[in-house]
């Protein structure tokens, strides 16, 4: 048993989970700030982004060291590759939370208007995806990760519906255009968070089973461009 290596992997897992907690909290805070029109929460999200960025660098460095010094194989190699990719996704989740917080800060400056979109419901669905994706990582269970993939379509539909009703709102109430546009961007940010949760779930499946389930098993990348294809 390579005790030091296993200890290193355990430490990395802990670090990623702490970062996952920060990213999840950032999304929830940003969404709560939307509901409450709460500038304080928005500022908390912005401040905490630096923690997430620092965690990203620390995790990358730890994973890089383990790869270089311990030369992992098989399940350990897949784990480290998954951690590096999940790390990048969590950092982007943090960025999306910041984007949401900035939209909310803009909205708070404007008169409150009734918008025909259920952002809190969408936020609940997205948060559940992030939480379950992280649970699947903690438990090392591909079935949990699979369930996250199936939730992505629901969030995509919510985003599409939000687009339709908010554009309609802009047309019928031009004075609410800016608020509607902010809400539209928030819906888009939430949908992006769901995409990152999906990526995390795919990486967990790769780690646990060794299966690459991304992009619905798209055709293989050609080794060389086909003859006659334009390179310019």
């Amino acid at each position: 048993m390579r005790t030091r290596f296993q200890q290193g992997l355990d430490d990395l897992r802990e670090k990623l989970l702490r970062m996952g907690g920060l990213a999840e909290q950032a999304v929830e805070r940003a969404c709560q700030a939307y509901i409450d029109r709460d500038l304080n929460r928005c500022h908390q999200v912005l401040e905490n982004e630096t923690l997430i960025n620092a965690a990203e660098r620390d995790i990358d460095e730890t994973a890089f060291d383990l790869m270089a010094m311990q030369q992992p194989m098989a399940v350990d190699l897949r784990f480290l590759l998954a951690v590096v990719k999940i790390n990048a996704d969590l950092e982007r989740v943090g960025d999306q939370a910041v984007n949401i917080a900035e939209r909310v800060m803009d909205m708070v400056e404007l008169p409150a208007v009734e918008l025909p979109v259920d952002i809190p419901r969408m936020a609940t669905a997205v948060s559940a995806m992030v939480r379950r994706a992280l649970e699947s990582f903690v438990e090392g269970k591909a079935e949990l990760a699979q369930a996250v993939l199936e939730m992505d379509n629901v969030v995509d539909r919510m985003r599409d519906d939000a687009f339709i009703v908010l554009v309609k709102k802009m047309n019928t109430n031009p004075e609410a255009t800016r608020q509607a546009l902010d809400a539209l961007l928030i819906a888009r940010n939430l949908e992006r968070v769901a995409d990152h949760a999906t990526n995390i779930a795919e990486d967990v499946i790769f780690w646990v089973r060794g299966d690459d389930v991304r992009h619905n098993a798209s055709p293989e990348f050609p080794a060389q461009p086909a003859a006659g294809s334009s390179g310019s």
Binding site: M1, R2, Q71, M73, A74, V75, D76, L77, R78
Partner: protein, 253 residues
């Protein structure tokens, strides 16, 4: 050109103790196949069964089928004839210490009863040393420099040249780099890549990164059994057997 090594139901014993159990596998022609596993798992015994060196140990015996191309190693072929087709390189470089570099390579031919004129011999020695990537380092002092005066890495390439001189179809390597530094190891690994064009290589190694670097196929041995045999990328990324995974990830062994 290299030929395939086809092994079927191979069993081997040291006295009453069975060392190999029913091994069946094929090493593809002109590819490198690596054998990995913990010490005492039978991988070296397996390799020594392929060129019938196993039977040189008192009380040792082997049973089963080993084919080098179309030649049945255990039926209708003498061990000497077989070893002309199957070269072997050992863990520790073992040049003849009192012989020059030239004579070390020529010795492989002479020991195998190859008689030739000087010109032919010169050509074979040069070709073998070029094929083992040693020529440029020894060509100026070929007949004066002793084999023992070379560095460890050079000595190992000299042993490879000696094995290649008899133009085998298969080259067996039993931990060829375990006594070498990383630079010499890199040269041998590059050499293995070149040799694959003309020979079939079977390498035993404890260094899993080395197996991953040089071999297209890898077999994992444990307690005398071939647990898993597959493409190297599969073995080192997503092995099918838990025992393989536990070994290559260092959870045991």
């Amino acid at each position: 050109m290299g030929v395939s090594i086809q092994v079927q139901n191979l069993n081997a014993w040291f006295g009453k103790k069975q060392a190999l159990f029913d091994i069946t596998m094929t090493a593809q022609a002109n590819h490198c196949t690596a054998l990995i596993g913990p010490s005492g798992c039978g991988k070296s015994t397996f390799v020594r069964c392929i060129n019938r060196m196993h039977e040189t140990i008192p009380d040792a015996k082997a049973a089963g089928s080993v084919k080098i191309g179309d030649v049945d190693a255990y039926n209708g072929t003498s061990a000497t004839q077989l070893r002309r087709r199957v070269g072997m390189v050992f863990q520790k470089p073992n040049p003849f210490p009192t012989m020059s570099v030239y004579d070390n390579v020529a010795a492989g031919l002479k020991l195998n009863g190859f008689s030739s004129n000087h010109k032919q011999m010169d050509e074979i020695v040069e070709r073998s040393l070029k094929n083992s990537a040693l020529w440029d380092e020894v060509k100026d002092d070929l007949k004066k420099k002793s084999g023992a005066s070379l560095s460890g890495g050079q000595q190992q390439r000299l042993c490879i040249a000696r094995a290649l001189a008899v133009e085998p179809e298969v080259v067996l390597m039993d931990e060829p780099c375990s006594a070498l530094d990383p630079i010499s190891t890199g040269k041998i690994e590059d050499l293995i890549f070149q040799l694959k064009q003309n020979y079939t290589i079977l390498i035993v190694t404890h260094n899993m990164q080395q197996a991953a670097r040089v071999a297209e196929y890898t077999g994992f041995f444990l307690l005398g059994k071939l647990i898993e045999f597959d493409k190297t990328t599969k073995i080192f990324t997503t092995p099918s057997d838990k025992r393989t995974e536990d070994y290559i990830t260092g959870r045991f062994g």
